[in-house]
């Protein structure tokens, strides 16, 4: 079972990654080139996903859009990861008042519905891919921080840590050399699952009209544009949605697979 989840997830994610990275090779059309005489053509051999309102090839748009969506997912998770690991390890290692304050911040942040916070900030800042990545990242680090802190608390008094401290190793060295590597498994799992969440968040933001800016296509805003033709043609909405679904599925399977691999029977 473990293997199957992991293998399926890995396969999906790898195929997507290859498609997205090889975009210039596999796409026959420019994703932004407009040809209004070809508007809203149904899928055919020439355009396997059909064309959109401005006659752009949807396959190219979806593949190039994948670059943007996946990048947002990955970078946002990196930001969340770094913030979470730093906060979590400081909190766990130093304990005391530092721990109290930092975990207080975590508690506060966890109280806000993430989408509310993101909406409020995104709507009011100058929009752009960078802002979206940062904001999604900064509202998603709390889980990682708690995980890392818990791991470190449980490791802190183990023998090998005490030994290295006795040998005169500095705090930073202990944290980075010994504690973090030991906490890596649960963090990795939550990071992989986090990518799926971030891709979904990006598409929700675009759905509300606050997502990635033109002219960069992302799955969210291709879908948003496609919504306008709801009822007259299905393809502009179907394909980007399907790709979001498959990507999220892929990362979730991968994450779950990793979880079972690293932490069998543990939640």
């Amino acid at each position: 079972m473990t293997n199957k989840l992991f293998v399926t997830g890995m396969a999906i994610v790898s195929v997507l990654a290859v498609m997205v990275l090889m975009a210039p090779v596999i796409c026959r059309y420019d994703p932004v080139s407009i040809n209004i005489k070809q508007a809203l053509l149904a899928p055919s051999n020439a355009h396997i996903f059909g064309t959109d309102y401005l006659g752009r090839d949807l396959f190219s748009r979806v593949i190039y859009g994948g670059r943007v969506s996946m990048m947002i997912g990955l970078v946002a998770v990196m930001i969340a990861l770094i913030t979470g690991v730093v906060v979590g390890s400081i909190s766990g290692y130093y304990g005391g008042v530092t721990d109290l304050v930092l975990m207080g911040v975590v508690d506060i942040m966890l109280c806000f519905p993430a989408l509310f916070l993101i909406l409020a900030v995104v709507a009011m800042l100058e929009p752009g891919i960078v802002n979206i990545m940062v904001i999604i990242g900064l509202t998603g680090w709390m889980g990682v921080a708690r995980l890392v802190r818990a791991e470190i608390l449980s490791l802190k008094n183990r023998e090998f840590i005490l030994t290295s401290r006795a040998l005169g190793a500095g705090s930073a060295r202990i944290i980075f050399k010994h504690l973090i590597p030991n906490a890596i498994a649960p963090v990795l799992v939550s990071a992989v699952l986090g990518v799926a969440g971030a891709v979904l968040l990006e598409s929700s933001l675009s759905f509300l009209g606050l997502g990635v800016q033109l002219p960069s296509p992302s799955w969210g805003n291709i879908l948003m544009e496609g919504k306008a033709s709801l009822g007259v043609c299905w393809w502009p909405m179907a394909f980007p949605g399907l790709f979001i679904l498959i990507t999220v599925l892929g990362f979730n399977l991968l994450g779950e697979g990793l979880r079972q691999f690293f932490l069998p029977y543990k939640v």
């Binding site: 079972m1 989840l5 207080g104 911040v105 508690d107 506060i108 942040m109 966890l110 109280c111 806000f112 519905p113 993430a114 989408l115 509310f116 916070l117 909406l119 409020a120 900030v121 709507a123 009011m124 800042l125 100058e126 799926a196 979904l200 598409s203 929700s204 759905f207 509300l208 879908l223 919504k227 709801l230 009822g231 909405m237 949605g241 979001i244 679904l245 498959i246 990507t247 999220v248 599925l249 979730n252 399977l253 779950e256 029977y265 543990k266 939640v267």
Partner: protein, 324 residues
């Protein structure tokens, strides 16, 4: 027990202060102000009128003064008046909150009702055909973008089949219906929104129950029970399931913000005038008092959810109190 309760409640005070601070800062760091989106690009709005509006809203005062003022008032649940229509903010929120809460509570109930049996059954038949099938379904359900699913279901059930209404929470002739008719009417309107809002939850929760259950089924005391010759059914449903389901209380508390956040999406799609929609409208028109109020109230609801979860968990499982 009482000691634990008191300590737990006192601990929320700094959190509440933090919540108010974050809500306020998030809004006031932003560029732009509500007067601009209100008046600009109407050639009949004069320059002086704009200045006048700024002063009337108190937007020309220093930011810390605005914060202190605001906090002093929200202690008494006075969130001020909306910039958009001059209504009391608390009244606006109170008018919108019930629908959102109703849908979320129904979702939670539905999630529990569906997810626990599914999860438990697939744990018991781990690796079997049923488990594999539900695993696939659960993962797909979990991966659906909510608004996409909503639009797909809406065009299928609302338009193609015409079985369900697609917009709002009541029909136009609602007032003429009998009590039974009214209930049916609301129920019909809620089918799709509640379904969409709980799909992800069902998937996540059943997975959680399954994994929890698996873990427990491998515990010594279960093996012991089996060895003692207790019937397999009793082992599973009396001993294992109870223990597997208990931690769900905590998970439920944690899932409150996700549900409330998700309401922005499905309320937009289904045209439901709830808190999520109110928040979105207010954000887009920079109605600061309403945005801040919904942020604070949304966070407080989560806080209360967590508190209740912790307390009920500690009642159900006394060990917790001493662990912490």
């Amino acid at each position: 027990m009482r000691h634990y309760l008191i300590r737990r409640i006192i601990l929320t005070v700094p959190t509440i202060i933090g919540i108010s601070l974050v809500s306020f800062v998030v809004i006031h760091l932003a560029p732009g102000n509500p007067v601009d989106s209100m008046t600009m690009l109407d050639p009949k709005v004069s320059f002086e009128a704009r200045e006048k509006l700024m002063a009337q809203y108190g937007l020309d005062r220093p930011i810390y003064a605005q914060y202190m003022d605001w906090v002093r008032r929200i202690v008494f649940l006075d969130f001020g008046v909306s910039y958009r229509d001059g209504q009391k903010v608390i009244a606006k929120v109170a008018a919108r909150a019930p629908v959102t809460l109703l849908i979320n509570i129904l979702s939670v109930l539905l999630i529990l009702l569906i997810a626990i049996p599914i999860g438990a059954a697939s744990a018991v038949r781990c690796g079997g055909l049923y488990d594999r099938f539900t695993t696939v379904i659960v993962f797909i359900g979990f991966a659906f973008p909510g608004f996409w699913l909503a639009l797909l279901l809406m065009s299928l059930f609302g338009i193609r089949l015409g079985w369900l209404p697609v917009q709002g929470i009541v029909s136009l002739d609602f007032d003429t219906l009998t009590a039974v008719g009214k209930t049916v009417d609301v129920a019909m309107h809620l089918v799709l929104p509640v379904f969409v809002s709980c799909v992800g939850g069902i998937a996540g929760m059943s997975r959680y129950v399954r994994n929890n259950m698996l873990e427990i089924l491998h515990k010594d005391y279960i093996k012991m029970a089996r060895a003692k010759g207790i019937k397999e059914r009793d082992v599973i449903y009396k001993h294992a399931l109870g223990n597997a389901v208990l931690p769900i209380i905590t998970i439920l508390g944690l899932s409150v913000p996700g549900l409330i956040g998700g309401s922005v999406i499905f309320e937009s799609v289904f045209g439901i005038p709830g808190m999520g929609r109110l928040f979105y409208e207010s954000v887009m028109s920079r109605d600061y008092p309403v945005v801040m109020a919904v942020l604070v109230i949304g966070a407080l609801l989560t806080l209360v959810g967590n508190l209740m979860a912790d307390i009920s968990y500690s009642v159900a499982d006394p060990r917790v109190r001493y662990d912490k």
